[in-house]
Each structure stands twice: as C-alpha cells, then as structure tokens.
Assembly symmetry: C2
Amino acid sequence: MSSWDITMALATSLSLDDLPAQSDPPSGDPSEFDTPVLAAVAAARARTYDAVCLPLTNTTWRDRWTRMCILSGDRDGDTHAEAEARAEAWRANPVFELEELTMTRLDEAEGVIAMVSDWLELDASDDWVRHDSEIALQQELSYASYLDVQTAVLPPPRNRGQIASYGRAINTCLARTPYMQLSIRLPIYDPSIFQSDAAKPSASPPPLATPDSVASFDSRPSTPEIRTPDLRNAPSTKASEAELNATWEMWDIVRSICAYNPRLTLTLDLTPPLPSVPGVLNRWAAEPIRHVFLPASTFIANGKGYPVLPKGSQTFIRDIMKHRPVVILAGAARGRHARGGEAAYLQYVRHLEKTSAAVRQAATAGTVEHFARGYQDFLQAPLQPLMDNLQSVTYQTFEQDPVKYQKYEEAVFRALAEWPPAERIVIAVAGAGRGPLVARCLAAAERAQRSAFVYALEKNPSAYVTLQRRKAAEWGARVALVFGDMRGAALPEQADILVSELLGSFGDNELSPECLDGAQRLLKPDGISIPASYSAYMAPLSSSKLYNEVRAGKDQEKAAETPYVVMFQAVNLLSGHGGGTGGRCGPQVQECWYFEHPRRDGVLGADGVPPTNSHNTRSAQMTFHIPHAGVLHGLAGYFEATLYGDVGLSIHPQRKDLVSKDMLSWFPIFFPLKEPLYLPSNAELQVSIWRLTNARQVWYEWYAESFLPVLHPAPAQPPPGPAPRVDGRGSFVAAPATPFATPSPVVEAMDNPFLADRPPARLSPKRVEEDDARRDAGVVKIGQTTLHNPGGRSSWIGL
Amino acid sequence: MSSWDITMALATSLSLDDLPAQSDPPSGDPSEFDTPVLAAVAAARARTYDAVCLPLTNTTWRDRWTRMCILSGDRDGDTHAEAEARAEAWRANPVFELEELTMTRLDEAEGVIAMVSDWLELDASDDWVRHDSEIALQQELSYASYLDVQTAVLPPPRNRGQIASYGRAINTCLARTPYMQLSIRLPIYDPSIFQSDAAKPSASPPPLATPDSVASFDSRPSTPEIRTPDLRNAPSTKASEAELNATWEMWDIVRSICAYNPRLTLTLDLTPPLPSVPGVLNRWAAEPIRHVFLPASTFIANGKGYPVLPKGSQTFIRDIMKHRPVVILAGAARGRHARGGEAAYLQYVRHLEKTSAAVRQAATAGTVEHFARGYQDFLQAPLQPLMDNLQSVTYQTFEQDPVKYQKYEEAVFRALAEWPPAERIVIAVAGAGRGPLVARCLAAAERAQRSAFVYALEKNPSAYVTLQRRKAAEWGARVALVFGDMRGAALPEQADILVSELLGSFGDNELSPECLDGAQRLLKPDGISIPASYSAYMAPLSSSKLYNEVRAGKDQEKAAETPYVVMFQAVNLLSGHGGGTGGRCGPQVQECWYFEHPRRDGVLGADGVPPTNSHNTRSAQMTFHIPHAGVLHGLAGYFEATLYGDVGLSIHPQRKDLVSKDMLSWFPIFFPLKEPLYLPSNAELQVSIWRLTNARQVWYEWYAESFLPVLHPAPAQPPPGPAPRVDGRGSFVAAPATPFATPSPVVEAMDNPFLADRPPARLSPKRVEEDDARRDAGVVKIGQTTLHNPGGRSSWIGL
C-alpha cells in the first residue's frame, strides 16, 4: 500500500490486570516472552492487532503518590509534617520504585502507546494537587521518553475552571520532552450531562479508570446550569449546545495555550454515546485526531449477537477514517457480546474502514479524491500563468481532466448551434497552450456542422512549438496560429467567439478579467466570450492542520498573506446553512463578486483597452452564521463559471456535482489567517475581502470581524425557580448556550444559477449595499482579525 | 521649558472664507505676506496661536470631483459616458488644477496642519464613491507630502458597515505617504443619537463641513435601534452604551487594520456635548490623541458673557492635557460670545492647561508625577538585584524616597517598642546596600530607647565598601558588617528582627520570597520579619502607546514575554469597580497572591533551607468586569506590603495614598500581551497568572480568556411594538448595547488591610478555589490570548 492510501491501525488497550508489577529484577539475558509484558504484547500481535496500548504505572505508584500528596489527617499514623517532608523529598528527586511501573525494559516498550496515570489531576482546584500532579506527569513522561516511547496518552482535562493550568502544564511537558507525541484522551462531550441531577461529588483523587471506561468522567457531578423555568422542566437527557461544546472548548484552550504544537494530538474517547447534533461532530474533523478510543461497551449486539456500533458511531468512525487514526479497542476480550469473540470487534472495525466513503473514493479512479491522493491539506502556490510560462507537464496534468474540456466543447457546440446561419464563424482561442481548446472547438464545429475557423493565440514560446506540431499533424488550414500575449497581439480579423481558459480556483485569481479586457479588441462588438461570466465564493473554515502548515513556511509573516490552492480534507466549514438570527446572515457558502465578458459599456481608450483597471476592483462583505463554536483559521474560496448558456464549471461545494461532477482541474483556494479567531456558538462572522489593483499588480486583502447577536433584554427580576446549583469542584461544562434561536438544520434551498435568471442589478458597478445597516443591528462586536496582505505585499501578480 | 514638561499647543482652524483660491500664479519673488495664505497665517501667529490648521482644497475641486464621480443623470448636459470617460482619465492621472487648492508654495504650508477634503466618503456604501474617494485621498496626501506638510487631518468614518474599507484605505495611505502623520478627526460619539427620531437622509456627497461644525455628523440619520417596549418610551436623549461606543469602536477597527501604525493619531472632535458616563471618556486616555478640535460653538457664556466650557468638558480637557495635544480652536474670531473676543478663548484654554492636575503634579516637587517626568509610559526592565550588583547611583536614586525609609523606621520602631523588655535586641539587615536601613534601624532604636545591635549583610562588594565607610564614620560598635549572600552567609548569633528591602513592583518579582527563605536561618524561631507579608495585585489595562512601545523592541517575540516597570500615563484600566453580572467578578484591582515571612510550618532541610522552592509557586485566577468596550493590551501589576503592624508600603492605585502617599521607589509593573484582545461592553475577563520555579529560575506566565454573560432567555415571541427601523445608508452606531445589568458607578468599599485582620485561610497552601464553578456559570466564551512566556523563556531570574 502506498503512503497515499488511507490506513487505519488497530490497537488493543491492555489493562493493569494483564500486567503484574515489575517487582522482579530484569533478566540478565532477555529472550522473547521472558516478562509478562512481552508475553502480553506478543499475544496481542498474534490476535492481529497492529499496536498495544499499556498503562505506564500501576496502583503501587498511585498509592505512594496519594499518601505523599493528598492530606488525609492520619493515614497509617503519619503526621502531616512527615507526609509533607516525604513529598518535599520526592519533589526534589522524583524517582520511581521498580515495582511502581509496568514496563522497565526497552523491548517491553517497543511500539507501545503508553497511557499516563489517568488519576493525575492537572486541573485540580487544589493548588497543591495540581502542582504535584504536574511533577508526577513530568516524571512519567521523562521515564517514557527514557524507554523510547513514541506516543503517550494523557489524562483528560476535567475542570473548566483550571483548564488554563492544565494547558500550561502540557505545554511545559511538550517543551521538556522533545520528540514524544502527547495525545490527550477526550470524550466528545461530558457524559455526566446526560445523567440525573443527583450530584456525585468525586473523591480526591478520582477512582482509577479501568481501560474500558472513563470512570473519571462518570464520576463528575453534573453541571450547574442557568435555565428558564420552562427549560428546567425539559428532560435532562437533552444536552444544550454549550454542554456539547464543553470538551471541545477545553481542547481548544489547551492546544491554543500549547501554540498548536504539532506533537499535541487527540485521542477521541467514544465511550459516551454520540450526540445526534451533526455540527457538534463535524468540528472534530478539523482537529488532529491520532487515536480513537473504542471500548467494547460502546458496541451493541446485532440481531445475531455480534458486536456492532450504533448508526451514529458508524458514520462518525467511517468519516474519521480519513485522519488515518489508530483505533484503540478496549475490553474486547472480555466476552461482553454473545457471538464472535474478540475477532468480531476487529473484523467489524476493519469493515468500517473498507466501507468509509473517504477510503472508497480515494481508491476509485476518476474521482477528485483519487486524483488528489497525497495532496490533501497540502498548500500549493496558485499558478501565475500570466507571469510564468507553464511547463509541458503542467499542461499535461490539466489536459487529463475528463470533465473540463468536455464542458468547453459542449459550450462551443451550443454557441455554434445557436449562431445565426453564416458562411464562416471565427473563433479565437486566447491562450491556446498545447491546444486542447483548439481541438475541442474543431470537434464542436464538426458536431454542429458549422464552418469554423480558429485562431490560436499563445504567449508561451515553448507551448507554441507543440501548437505548430499539432497544426501540421492534425488541424491544417482550419487553424491559424498567432504568437503573442492576448493583450497586445493582433488578429487578421475580429472573432465571433473568444474562447479562453484563464480561470483560477477563485475565478479571477489568475487575472482572467485583466487578460480578457486586453483580448476584447479581438472580438466583434456583438461577439460572445466563453466563459461568459464567473463568480468567486467563500466560506469560513477551521483546520488546525492548515493553520500549522501555513506557519511551517519559512517566512511566517509572508506565509499568512498568501492564498493557497488546497485539496481540503481535515477541515470543517464553520458556517451554517440558515440565515442566523434575524436573517442577517447569508448561506453557508457566499458569493463574493462576479465578472462578465465581454464588457459592454466600459470606457475604452483609442487602443481598445480600458484606460485604468479600476473596473476590475471588487469588494465584498459577507455575513456568516456560525451555529457551533469553532476556531476560524482561514477562508475557503471557490469559483463557478458560466461557459455558455447553462453549461458551466463549478467547484462550489454544494453545486459542483450538479454543474461539473468529477472535474479535477481546480482544488479550492485557501486564504489563511495569521492568528486563529475564536467564534462562539451562534456567532456571526463578517468577512471583508477586496480585489485591489494598481498599474502593475492585482492582489487580495482580507479581514474579518465577529459578532454575537443581542437578545431581547431580560426582565429586571430573575425568573422564579431554584437558584443555579453550584458545586465546589468546578464545572466541567463552561456555560449554558447563549439562548438564541436554534440554528435551522434545513439546508438552504439550492440556488442553481443555470436555472434562474441572474438579476442584472448585480452587475451594476454602482450598486448600493443596502443591507449594511441591517447587518449591524442587534449584534455586539466580540473580535476581529488583522488586515491580511495590506498593500499586496505578497501574492501580487505582475500585469 | 524642558521636554519633560507638559505643553499644549494652540492652533486656529482657518476656514475657506479666509482663503481665496490660488488662481494667481505664484509670484516670482516671494516676500512675506505676498499671498493671502501667508497673510492669514501671520495674522494667526500674531494672535498668539502656535499653529494654523488649513483646508487643503476648496469647493472648485469638490465640484469637479462630484461631476466626475457622482452620477446625476444629466448635469450640465453631460452624458453618463462622458462623465465616466473623464473619471477614467482622472483615475489614470490624478492631477489637481491650480485653482482647486488653498496652498501652492512651500512657505504657505510651513507648519500648517492640513485638513483633507472632509466630504470624501472612504466608507460610502457605493463601491464607486468609495473607490474614487480613495484615489482622491491619495492625491491630496501625495500633494500635501510634496508641500512638506507634517500632519494631515482626515475626514471621520461615518458608516459602520464599511469601516473596514475605510481602514484599509487609510492603511494604504500610511504605506504610500512615508513620513506624514495622519490624524483622524472623530467625535467622541455620534451626535445624531441625541436628535429626534426623524430620519434625515443625507445627500451624496454630504454638505461641506464648515470648520466650526461637524456638518457631516449632523446630517447623519439617527440610528436604527432594537429596544424593549419600555425602553422605547424612554426619552431619546438617553444614549445607550453601544451608541456611545460607536465612534471608539470604529477608531479601534481602523487602527487595528492599520496595525497600530504610530503615525496614525486622533483628532478628537469636541463639537458634540460630552456624555456624562465617565467610563466612555476614560477610554480615550489610552488612545493617541494628537489634536483636540474645539469649536467656539462648544463654549458657553459665563455670568459675565465670557466663553467658558461646560463642567464635563473642562474636566475632560484638563485630563487630556497629559497627552500634550494641539488644541485646535475654530470660529473663535466670529464673535459668538459677548465678551472677551478671540483672546478670551485662548486665555481660557491656557487656563485649563495650568489648572490641569497632571500639569500641576508634574510641576510640584515631591510628587511621583514630578519624580517620573520623562519616564511616563517608558518601558524599563525590572531590576534583578539578585543577579546583578547595583550601581551606587541606583542606590542613591532609591535612597531619595522620602516615604519608604520613613515607613521602615516606623516599622522597626513599633517592633522594638512592643518587644518584651530585654537587654539587647539583635537586628539583621539582609541586603544592606549602602546602609539606609541600618541607619533607620539605629534611629528607631534611639527613638524606642532600646539597646539594639545591627548585623548588616551585603553581597555587593562595591556597596560593602560604602558600608565600611559608614560604620567607621557613623555607626561604630553598634553595627557589625557581614559580607555575603543572605542565603549562605552565617551570623555569630540568630537575630530577633530580620529587616529587608527586596520588594519589586509586583512584590515578589525581585525574588524576595526565595531570598528570605534562605535568610530565615538567621532569625530566631520566634523572630519577626520586616516586611511581614506582601501581596501582588493586578488590573487589566488598555494603552495603545504601551502596546507600540513593546512592539518597538528589537526582539518582538521576546519583548512581549517580559514584564516591564512603567510609570503609567496614557492608559486606561478596563475593569469596573462593581462585581459584574451575578457577582462573578472581583473589584477593579484584584489580589493575585500573598507571601508571609517568616514561614512557620514549612519543611526545612538540615541546612535550615527548604528542600525545594515548590512552596513559592503561586497561581491566581481573577475575573474582572469590563463595563465599557475596550482593548486589552496588557496587565497592570502592583504590590502592597505590611512592614509591621499597620505600617505598610503600597502602590495599589486605590490604596497607595492611604498607605504610603508620595512614595517614589516603585512604578507599577506591566505584563504585555502579544496581540490585543478586544473586549465588548459588559464582558468578563478571566486572567490567569502563574509564578513558577525550578531549581534555578523563577518566572511568570500569563494568559487571559474573555466571556460575555448570558441573559435569561427571551420569550419565544418577539416583544410587541414597531419593528426596528432600517435605513438605506448604513448605521453610524454599531448596535444597541447587550442589555445586561448596568455597571454600578459606586466605587467598591475600601478594603484596608491594616484595619481588618487578614483571615489565616488565605495563607493555607492547600486552599481550594471554591469559586471556580461560580465564575464559569452563565457566560459564553468569546476570546483568549496566547500563553505568555511559556517555560520562562524570558524574564527568568537566576537563583
């Protein structure tokens, strides 16, 4: 299997029961299986697991740490002072005793995923428990590093009130343990929110988690909430948006405090049943999921008694397969399900992988996913064909697109077919490259049984050689070649149809408008352009991967000022389909601007070219509704073009399959942000983007502001009912959701530009943005980005 | 006058009426007063103005621009196409005609503040008006730059919906006009919010503003608002928090988009009457105010008919004097007030300057303000006396403090006076420096008529020479000198009283806790330490000046990881005195942590020193209420120490005058933020700060998160009443305030630590932070900072 292919690894999580303490001194002459750990690991591999997950320490360590660091009056006759003196001695020299560890030899730890003691409370409310947990964590990681462990799984954060301390401790560990991957075990939400309201104050420290349950979560008291009287009577099994946000919000704080360290990953714990709100799950797609923790208890029995997963979990795991996670099965050997034994769990998870859409698409020739293997989330500089002459291999790649040139042929065919009967129709291909459009024009003319003569203009001297060869070999007198830039070259006659393929991922970003302005001289006044028009689209995007990719560039300052072409994979569109509160917000993906060719009413100089490029400046302001809290890392850009009539090209995520399915030539564009922008649930994001120009350059600048809708004011008196319950341990869930209108799950009705007439008002350069005022009513500003690429200091393109 | 002194300059704003167009060619042999502009400028200087403010262009230019760029059907028989062709020709070559300008010679523009055409709409809703306004602005600034104009005043933003476009245009101008100061004229709020609800749609372009009014503001339609039915019946002269925020919010966006360019400043326009909400005015203190625009119309007549300012304006202008602004008087020559003529306005403003508290304090010897002249908002690295040996001149500076050593003497006096009668009391001065504390101890003993023997320990070999000189000359046998570090040196006997002066601006930041841990061996078990305890305090701070100062450092990455000692001036504390919604928030300035000496119950090694420094780690989480929207640029830090009994030292802003008035030795400390954090009105700011330690270093890390309180949910149906009115031009005011509880104007009751007993629970190292849970209930997270100084990569101090 090539490294392009999506491959999941399967691991088993062994429990302490399988691993007696290492009280025997290591043998002087180690051979295979001469320790219980080696035997257990070998047995797991024999059961076809790819990896093994082991706790690093055992209860002996936990007992010692607890006696030292947790004050309990008079345990074992110790005085406070004696315990404190032992703790100080340990803090000065944090050393394990042999019998406190599960692994003590290099061969035992080989390939093992180490579970750090999950009773450590890095976010305890007590200052000293937190302090001593951090020393213990560093001690464990330092020991794991000594054993050459590659990945350690850390205990989850449990206390929102001390999440910053948790994050700070992890960040210190990342700095002190240079090569190890640290993966935070985290449930998608706090399962206690579905429990009854009975508070269960947890002991300190919490009970030791067994490998197939998140005991530490189960023991959390349920969350204090402020609810309206009517909501308070609702069944408590319905979690609020904020409750479902809570673990993600903690993850976001931790990784932000750790400055998006690429060695910090997630072990998603699927112990609690998945919530049914899809947006809550989608956000994890944009996060670095390294492991999925899947206990046998999450499986249900199918009709025949074999273990299977509930529908929602199936879907989620199939989707997450594109992250190539390690799936850690726990407790599969304990006979929890009647049929199939341990093998049935493995078989089932491998079945989910095979039936994952991401895996299947990548394996199917002709799909974009197959074409793009190895390019997912890889930043590419957009082509600048105006400035750079392309290589033959680049032309060849794009000529392989099975859809794009077929659409062009169809567009030319329709134009020819509808053309008033004429002896001879003149077609000019502006930017002929190696000739694919020339060939398609000729094919279209044959199909339409029209007499067409084609001028092929090309500025790339190398490609012009290929054109000469093809004219000699294929086209003959039906084609005339003209060397030169379409903005300056002359043709013997004006064309009826001007065909070009100058579009970039964002439509105009390869300077199609400027080039076609210069080529319009070559077209008869009533001639037509193919493409006839194109629009740029945008949506707000979250992706910790892409944020890190941009930062990994050499010149960080410049790297975040440049748009990139990217095949998105580990990303999440943050915008909702609905219109948000009060209808201020547009759809999930919004139109920025529109270009049309030929320009009918523009001012032209004596040379037939516009005196300035002012008419090709654009600016757009879009307001997006953000139904679920997320972090904005950049803006996804798309285009959609009308070639002729209802023949088009589109990479708009909701319309591409409708307009030009399986087209390969364009990945989306990505406008990065220098700093992530946090967006709470129900936020509104106002994105500004400008297309700017001077005599020599064209560039984009972009900027965003975030808002929260304002509610109708509350009554002066608080509503009747019991006061919100507050417990002493800190809340797991941050807060109830801002109780605004719930986002509509209904997908926006499809707005197909090929069926509806586009209102001409959109084209008016002087149109007034009437809805500015509406947009700003009833929201309070909460944040903003910097202005990106001011003055076009990068990503400019020479005209 | 030295450059330290606060000096205001007075300018007059001349109107176009005083300045005929420059249609005459400039004379070949220029002499003084040979143009009307030179005559007008000379006349202004004769009337004792320091500077003159002139419009750059006149109505001829405005008329041409309007004919080209504003479509009006058939003005002067022009067709649309002809106007467009002329506009394109202008866009390609933006050139003034001679008669369109007020100034055309270098000598005319000398020292002049140029007013850019204030009818330019950089934030018009119409794309083309915006586009052509930007070209015109660049044309004007380029011309002003040619004339060597140092400062240009720009037209105010008027349209919240296009504020990002306004900011982007200004940012482009800053890049293209390298040396010029650009100052945005801005009223403190939009005066139209106090007008009646009758909408007055403004013409496009708005009427030309005369120099003594902000016509462009007066003509704005009033703001659409969403109000509750009851609020809707309230008198419309009461502006909401958000309405009063609106111009500041626009300023914040513009300067953020311009990346806090230090050449971008404010011309505060005091045309509209000042609001009575002090918090709304305080925020301007943290902004770069270069000019204050003060029209004669803002003045009222006093009993004798002389022009004076209303009380609120007086206070505000006196306060703003510390910014050393240029006050631009407009229309003072028009005889608006019965008595005094133009001179009366100048005299009155100069009177305000002289009676400004900031100016008076700076002129009064013995005040901190006088002592700190030249150091305001200047970043100083905190002293590290443990690592570096101080210079004699540094000791001398601090020995000049009239208050600090008097307090020390008083503390020693009280301790001696209360001491049980004894033959001989042993005092150890740990860190004697050049001997000021030794002398004070001897003086105290004389006053108390006790027999005291003083050991003077010092590790600085140079200062030790001074000590020897003083012993020989002054102290004799009453003092014994011991050379060495207090953490290792030995004394012949243990002391009864250990006196030290190791405190930094943040209390423990010069490692007083660590040093006194090491010196505690020298103290008898029942001995006392002076100081007995100290606390660190914090408050959130806004200051564009300090943000820029930090960024101006060489190593920007490191510069924002280091705390600085700063005498604050152009700053604003963002926190309110009240407790915020639901009492989650503490007072304006909050305690971080507390140290006490000597440690009574700590674990000690055989050498009498603690085995680890764990007990000196600290962490604090504070929640602040932010009543008015602002930008967080950093955290202000303070300390307060108890020397003995009720004798203390304090730089706590609300208690310093109570505890140790006129003490000079400590400026506050400033913990900067790498990126500003926007905080909306009524936000809650949770600040985390840690004092961390390892075997060799001590450092701070800091981090903040912002929240907005959540309201009780609204009724499902919108309240009855007319729908919010929306007009077509975009709203000046962003949005009505989040209608949460109004912040209380009542200052928190003074909590004097010297009157009340400090509860011993505070000292317990294992105390549980019980209020974490309460803090997190009922708020939604909206933003965060990065973690600053992770791992102590800077600002550490060698132990």
